[in-house]
């Protein structure tokens, strides 16, 4: 429902996983296979030679330190910033408006209905139900269009299809009030409150 970048998550997690896997397998191979150890020492010594020569060639005039260290520090700082940006993308997509339209052609201005209207109305309607341990309503933006997510936590033993039918009748009433059919998702789930509360025995 939210705009978490799922493909990006999969790609980045996959890259990190492959790298960690490769490093781990290399370490295991070094610890167990003698041939791998001799190959590693030769190969990595060659790589380090090349790198240290490069570091010597790029030293800052008048000093012995290489300016590559500063570049490396900068690159790492950029990588950290990218990681922070990536984390900030998770779970985004809440919006505050359920409707924003210019329905009167001739007149200036447009109509905006806040998501709070739907949230308050539905929560008030659901508050009296005995078979619910909790209900939350949130407005999200899906592909630029507003959408409602209704999260219900029924008590144990409540038939989800009957609950969904009741709530979708409420949603249809809301459609009539708002004047537009907004995509609605009803998520019937469990939480701590519904899990530990008493099962409803009479219905």
């Amino acid at each position: 429902m939210n705009n978490t970048p799922r493909t990006l998550n999969r790609i980045l997690i996959g890259i990190l996983g492959l790298k960690l896997l490769a490093v781990g397998l290399l370490l295991v191979a070094l610890a167990t296979v003698p041939a791998a150890a001799s190959w590693w020492q030769q190969w990595s010594a060659g790589v380090w030679n090349g790198m240290s020569q490069l570091l010597q060639r790029t030293s800052i005039p008048g000093r012995q330190e290489s300016w590559l260290w500063a570049v490396l520090a900068l690159l790492l700082a950029v990588l950290i910033a990218l990681m922070v940006a990536w984390v900030a993308q998770q779970g985004k997509g809440r919006s505050s408006l359920i409707l924003a339209e210019d329905d009167a052609e001739g007149l200036p201005g447009n109509v905006r209905i806040g998501g709070g209207v739907a949230e308050q109305a539905l929560r008030a309607a659901l508050a009296e139900r005995q078979d619910l341990a909790g209900a939350t309503v949130a407005t999200y933006e899906v592909r630029g269009e507003p959408a409602l997510k209704i999260r219900l936590q029924p008590r144990q033993g409540v038939a989800p299809h009957l609950l969904a039918a009741d709530v979708s009748a409420l949603v249809e009433a809301l459609d009539a009030v708002v004047g537009k059919r907004v995509p609605v998702l009803i998520h019937i789930g469990t939480g701590a409150r519904s899990r530990f509360s008493r099962a409803e025995r009479v219905r």
Binding site: R6, N9, W40, P160, L185, H187, I188
Partner: protein
């Protein structure tokens, strides 16, 4: 078990039911259009937000340490933990300088972490949820909710207490375990019929098959 055919016929029925549900969802664009389909697809799969957070924090910690050492080196200060030169030399000499058991253990732990991340990225990441049909809204129900509804129905059909019924709902299977009260027989077919009836009303997608196990030993004093 004489209800084997029963279950199998239910399975084929379920497959047909699922297809017709998909077709009806496609042919009636008004209540549940392509956007709704996408929302439902996203709701039944994990977003991997948590794993992404762990991965980002891991990379940030590693990069932070590298940044510190590189920065210290760039301005010509003494290193904080280890000089890059010394570190590189130790890494080159690797099987030496560290007990092989420790090295192998570190490698194994790293590889396991890598495998965890990799599998998280590659596997479909399906959540334990089913879609329910609805005229107006897209409905997603956690398997736990479906299980508790089925358990209630099975309990009423078997006439036992709540603790004597356990229902496990997975993507394609519902297992109903009933422990009868000692001396009071429980009709397996009655429980199966009740659960199937409830499932038919609920019509979750994908439709799971039902298996009922009645325990041979009963519960005393329930």
């Amino acid at each position: 078990m004489n209800n084997g055919t029963d279950v199998r016929s239910n399975g084929s029925h379920a497959a047909g039911n699922g297809e017709s549900g998909a077709v009806s969802a496609g042919s009636t664009p008004d209540p549940r259009g392509a956007g709704m389909r996408r929302i439902l697809d996203r709701e039944t799969r994990s977003s991997r937000a948590g794993v992404a957070g762990i991965a980002a924090v891991l990379v940030i910690i590693l990069c932070g340490y590298g940044l510190l050492e590189a920065g210290v080196r760039a301005i010509g200060q003494p290193p904080w933990l280890i000089d890059p030169q010394t570190a590189a030399e130790r890494i080159i000499a690797l099987p030496q300088g560290i007990p092989p058991l420790l090295l192998g253990a570190i490698g194994a732990v790293t590889a396991m972490a890598g495998l965890f991340f990799f599998l998280n990225a590659v596997l479909p990441g399906r959540r334990a949820r089913h879609l329910l049909p609805d005229r107006r809204a897209g409905v997603v129900a956690d398997d736990e909710v479906i299980a508790s509804a089925l358990a209630r129905r099975a309990r009423l059909a078997a006439n036992v207490t709540q603790e004597q019924v356990m229902v496990v709902v997975s993507q394609r299977q519902v297992v109903v375990n009933v422990r009868p009260t000692s001396g009071v027989p429980v009709s397996e077919n009655a429980v199966l019929a009740a659960v199937l009836d409830e499932l038919r009303d609920m019509a979750p997608e994908p439709m799971p098959e039902v298996r009922v196990n009645v325990a041979t030993s009963g519960v005393i004093g329930a």
